[in-house]
């Protein structure tokens, strides 16, 4: 009883309290939202330890079964980072001091690894683009045209292509001066229009939909209809 009902009562009480305080901008209710957000961050800080424990346990178990160089390297780099972090914290008063060993690790290990991982996605995104952009349907064609224009509008090659098109147009229609046409940067203009109007409209529609869905889900959680978070 207490194991299942108490969490539901706490969720209901906390959720309702936050909703009620929204309409009472006076002390002690006025700053309750801010206070709860701070508490939320503190509790989340402790949950990081749970994640760390899970990661260490998983790789220690693997190491105990048989020696695995990857698990060893992972645990070694994890503990090295922690040691350097706490050492820098102790010595420089903050682990994020620019000349601290922790920041050295951040600059020369974490940043390159993270940036390269994401850069690697450029190649896979290109392969995904090939599959997605095969203009088989009307919708896929729209996707292809929008993506191509947005890409061309943001790189110098888009400008060069437009200059070529402008030169072609002014050759056919000599009354249209090349310089004025070349200045227009048509790909950049269309790209901005796509981002500001159709993209913005669809994004806004999706955001409004997700916000309404989020509100409905929050009410379900507060009322205890949605209780999947109380697992055994």
């Amino acid at each position: 009883m207490i194991r299942t009902q108490l969490p539901l009562i706490i969720t209901f009480f906390t959720g309702m309290l936050l909703i009620v305080t929204f309409f009472i901008p006076h002390k002690p209710f006025g700053d309750l939202e801010q206070r709860f957000l701070i508490w939320y961050s503190i509790i989340s800080g402790f949950t990081v330890l749970l994640g760390l424990d899970s990661l260490v346990k998983y790789h220690l178990t693997k190491l105990k079964k048989e020696f695995n160089i990857h698990s060893f390297i992972l645990l070694f780099s994890l503990f090295l980072t922690l040691i350097l972090g706490f050492y820098s914290w102790f010595k420089f008063k903050t682990p994020f001091a620019l000349n601290s060993p922790f920041m050295y690790l951040y600059t020369y290990v974490i940043i390159p690894l993270q940036a390269t991982m994401f850069a690697l996605l450029a190649f896979f995104i290109a392969s995904a683009a090939y599959r997605a952009f095969r203009a088989r349907t009307f919708e896929a064609t729209l996707l292809l045209i929008a993506a191509t224009i947005v890409m061309l509008g943001r790189v110098p090659i888009g400008s060069y292509i437009w200059k070529g098109i402008a030169s072609f147009i002014s050759t056919i229609f000599p009354k249209i001066p090349y310089e004025e046409l070349a200045k227009k940067e048509i790909f950049a203009l269309i790209s901005d229009w796509i981002m500001n109007i159709p993209q913005n409209a669809a994004k806004r529609g999706i955001f409004i939909g997700t916000a309404l869905g989020g509100i409905a889900m929050s009410i379900r959680i507060i009322l205890g209809i949605e209780r999947t978070y109380i697992t055994k």
């Binding site: 994890l78 980072t81 109007i197 409004i208």
Partner: protein, 204 residues
């Protein structure tokens, strides 16, 4: 200086190890991948404790007085209770801080969504229908919402707007895709520049 050179070599080795995945999955990539997971996990532990726990809990507890000081014991105790998950017999206790955080999330999910998201988005859409762009924006928002409304059968006018919605959505997805590609390409250029400039020093 020597530390910078060692650092550059280290960064270049790890960059090349990650890029080696383009050939195929290999031990160098796996090694770099596991280093990445290890250092990232360690980094986030330090980050969260340096920016959350220390300033919000420890420093506040040491500097404030009275009720403000002792009230901080509530999140501290809730945080510790979260760790009861480590012991199977007491694991259920972790539901208490969990339900508290979920309650905060749900409460804010109602108020913050309405105040910070829904009303500003609707407000920004209620434009005077005097220009083509404004008309397109309003029709785009409405038709996108209609496309995701499944409680009514798509027939007649409703079907027309739903179809219009998918057109807007596809243009938006295409634009977002193009934008993401450019961001990734920019990162790729950054890494290649690092290898050619900082590491090999063959371009200025």
């Amino acid at each position: 200086m020597i530390l910078n050179i060692i650092g550059t070599w280290l960064a270049a080795t790890l960059t090349l190890a990650i890029f080696s995945f383009l050939y195929k999955d290999n031990p160098f990539y796996k090694l770099a991948e596991h280093i990445y997971v290890g250092v990232s996990a360690g980094f986030w532990v330090i980050y969260v404790w340096a920016f959350d726990i220390k300033p919000m809990l420890i420093d506040r507890f040491l500097t404030t007085t009275g009720i403000e000081k002792w009230i901080l014991l509530i999140p501290a105790i809730l945080g510790v209770l979260m760790l009861t998950r480590w012991f199977p017999k007491t694991a259920w206790i972790s539901r208490i801080p969990l339900s508290f955080t979920i309650g905060i999330g749900a409460g804010l999910g109602v108020t913050a969504s309405i105040q910070g998201f829904l009303i500003p988005q609707i407000g920004a859409t209620l434009l005077p229908l005097t220009t083509i762009n404004n008309i397109l924006l309003v029709i785009g928002v409405i038709s996108t919402i209609i496309y995701f409304y499944f409680s009514k059968e798509f027939k007649g006018t409703w079907k027309f707007f739903s179809r219009l919605g998918i057109i807007f959505i596809m243009i938006a997805f295409g634009a977002s895709f193009g934008y993401t590609v450019m961001a990734r390409i920019s990162l790729l250029i950054g890494r290649i520049y690092f290898l050619l400039h900082n590491f090999l020093n063959i371009i200025p």
